[in-house]
Amino acid sequence: MDQFAVKVFVRLRPSVLDPAGEATKSASIKLGAEGIKSLRIGKMIEVKIEGNGENEVRGKIDLLCDRLFANTVIEDYEYSLEKL
């Protein structure tokens, strides 16, 4: 069994308004940060997972992303995978 560290990034789709991102952008500008064109908030999920090779683990992570971690009506996901 190989063990992998996976980082999943879940982001609101570009077409979905992100009011929390807009509020944070506004606060960033009040803090004096200049040049912010866009600010959107997502989630990062860290998973440690075992499996027989990278392909099998990718299969499991794809399922988790598609069915649980992200709601694909409103969110996109991507992930990076590192063998431990």
């Binding site: 308004l17 009011p19 509020a23 649980l68 709601n71 009506v73 409103i74």
Partner: protein, 221 residues
């Protein structure tokens, strides 16, 4: 109607289950039974309400974890059999997360948790959930949500409009919902999801009775 029983689902974090049960039993004399989310035997039930609240603490996304409960798994058969399912607020979020209704409910545009009475246009009579046989009517129901902004893509919106699946629209959109949508049904009409709380509008002494008809319609075949 004597033996007609409505199952009121209780998730960890549900907080409108007792209100729903009170409204059905006390105001409408309809028998109810609380259903713990781990039960999957729905055989003695005639209709089901998924009440409002914060199932599983709204972790990950509202309704996302509840979707994997044994009860929601069993709901598929129940819905296919044509029995009626009403999802209120968090119940609506669960119905979209689990794919019984299209779209999703996301954070209100102004980021506030909105607690207010809202005017709603009844748009469709599909499923007979609202008292609008003769003409378009307006009702007033309370809302109480932080994530009630209905979102769907343009193809889904077209399908909702073309098939008359939009049940309720806000008169003054409080949360930024697409097309002012406050509630929708499935194609068959036996599943209704809505953000407003009909169970909180069942007695004049607490501000109105516009929710009675929707709860009463649970007993329709």
């Amino acid at each position: 109607m004597d033996n007609f029983t409505v199952g009121v689902v209780v998730f960890p974090g549900s907080n409108c289950d007792r209100d729903v049960s009170w409204a059905l039993e006390g105001c409408l004399d309809i028998r109810t039974k609380y259903l713990w989310h781990e039960s999957s035997d729905l055989s003695d039930l005639d209709a089901i309400v998924l009440p409002g609240g914060f199932s599983y603490g709204d972790y990950l996304r509202c309704g996302a974890i509840a979707r994997f409960s044994p009860l929601i798994n069993a709901l598929d058969e129940f819905v296919k059999s044509g029995k009626r399912v009403l999802g209120i607020c968090n119940g609506f979020q669960i119905l979209t997360e689990s794919g019984f209704l299209p779209g999703a409910l996301v954070a209100n545009k102004n980021l506030n948790f909105i607690c207010d009475d809202v005017e709603l246009d009844i748009v469709s009579s599909k499923g007979g959930w609202f008292n609008n046989v003769d003409e378009k009517q307006t009702i007033k129901l309370p809302i109480a949500h932080g994530e009630g902004r209905y979102h769907c893509d343009s193809d889904t919106l077209k399908r909702l409009v073309d098939n008359e699946l939009i049940a309720l629209r806000y008169k003054n959109n409080p949360n930024g919902s697409s097309f002012d949508i406050a509630g929708i049904t499935n194609e068959k009409g036996n599943v209704l999801g809505l953000m407003p709380h009909p169970e909180r509008a069942c007695d004049e002494t607490i501000g109105g009775t516009d929710g009675l008809f929707t709860l009463k319609s649970l007993i329709l075949k």
